[in-house]
Symmetry: C2
Subunit: 247 residues, 2 copies
Amino acid sequence: MPGNDCSPPPDFDSIPVTASGALCHVCDIVGGCLASRMMEYSGQVGLVRSNSRVLGQGENIFREGGEASALYVVRSGSVKSYLVTEDGEEQVLGFYLPGDVLGLDGLGSSACMSSAITLETTSICRMLFAQMSEQGCGRVYPKLISDQLAREHNLILMLARKDADGKLASFLWDLSRRFKQIGYAGNAFKLSMSRQDIGNYLGLVIETVSRTLTRFQESGLLEVSRRTLEIHDLEALKHIAGGQASH
Amino acid sequence: MPGNDCSPPPDFDSIPVTASGALCHVCDIVGGCLASRMMEYSGQVGLVRSNSRVLGQGENIFREGGEASALYVVRSGSVKSYLVTEDGEEQVLGFYLPGDVLGLDGLGSSACMSSAITLETTSICRMLFAQMSEQGCGRVYPKLISDQLAREHNLILMLARKDADGKLASFLWDLSRRFKQIGYAGNAFKLSMSRQDIGNYLGLVIETVSRTLTRFQESGLLEVSRRTLEIHDLEALKHIAGGQASH
DNA sequence: CGATAAATTGAGTTTTGTCAATAAAGGTGG
DNA sequence: CCACCTTTATTGACAAAACTCAATTTATCG
């Protein structure tokens, strides 16, 4: 590292475009690409063009306080969103898998209210607010907003009501459910986030995360080694997780 | 109580209208009424008419799962929003004071994602989504959405990172700030919610809430008796509260 | 004026966090 | 390709915070 060892990590804008100009329906995310849904609603094809890029691990998609100009869809890989407190500490708000939409909290304010960073090599599609204000507002935004609120309600529920076992079980069960939903194996996947990130998200220290996972393994619920996870008893996990929000 | 002792508590719709037909700008909430802001944006006066009612203590404004058709503005009094988990337990999501807007999480979905109930005699103004889709979308909703998200981010931060002292100090400091903002005394006010509600909101049992308040009182930070609160050292309280979200 | 509900206080237990040591994995440069 | 270094994760011993259970006390509402 010659000279400058604190060059800022690259943001979305500094990454070369992968498929510039291609129509967004070439992107075959499960559930349909956001852009193709937009085009359906507007009755116009080709109105919105894709703007997707591949980011390496640990690269910011957007940063708190930066200009909020777009929504971002995860095409592959994974992302964590987080905020930084006044005293400089991080709080993880969520993890995003392929098909998930990021950046909604920039909609209202001109500045981003949170940051997002890739957890591994990740392909991201950007959709500028400006390009979708008409259709987005009436049809797409409301759904995204309620998804986002539901997600946060569940986190609040988890943080306020559950013990360490319940939190971890909820977390793993939710990941499993989501992987399954997008066509991946729900009972065996790689954790793209560190124990530190998991603990931060769940309001636990990493030692508690580690010990709880070990205990889950000892009781035959699952097998875990570093980032590799295999769930053996999804039902038991759901039972330990306890109640979710009912919406 | 002759006969039926489980009649459902009244919802907004069953309460007689107070000022039906009056223009909304008669409502002088600090910061301006939502409806008057709408009218400004649309350039039309008298488009939206007020629909405000007075509810007694413990009456639901809307309920999770019910039809989501409107936003509600607190004119006076106070409200708590909450959700009910699959296993029937309640989670308090927030408290709303005069000027605060409720019901945003109904925007996306057709059904309400949370419930809201009055904590005391409360005057509520209802604004139907249908009456404000045009202007609301472009100008008013985004601001409300980012407010709502900011509110929830702060709660997540509090639940995940703070101990009992930090949570209570944050809670009281936030209430103080908000009362002050709407022109009430920030250092002496009535807590309209029970210890149970406070504990539920903060992820603590009521005994911990009670003990922590007693300890705050013993150290001269404040004086509290039942629902009556007087804050003596707001700065110290803010210090104990620690960092907030920085947006 | 009692009855019921809400809040406080105390004692003891459980859970989770803290501190410290170790182990395993991944990356780097020889 | 291997040794070394750094980062990440695990494990143990102990301390601290919060919870549970139980007993009072204090309001509030018929």
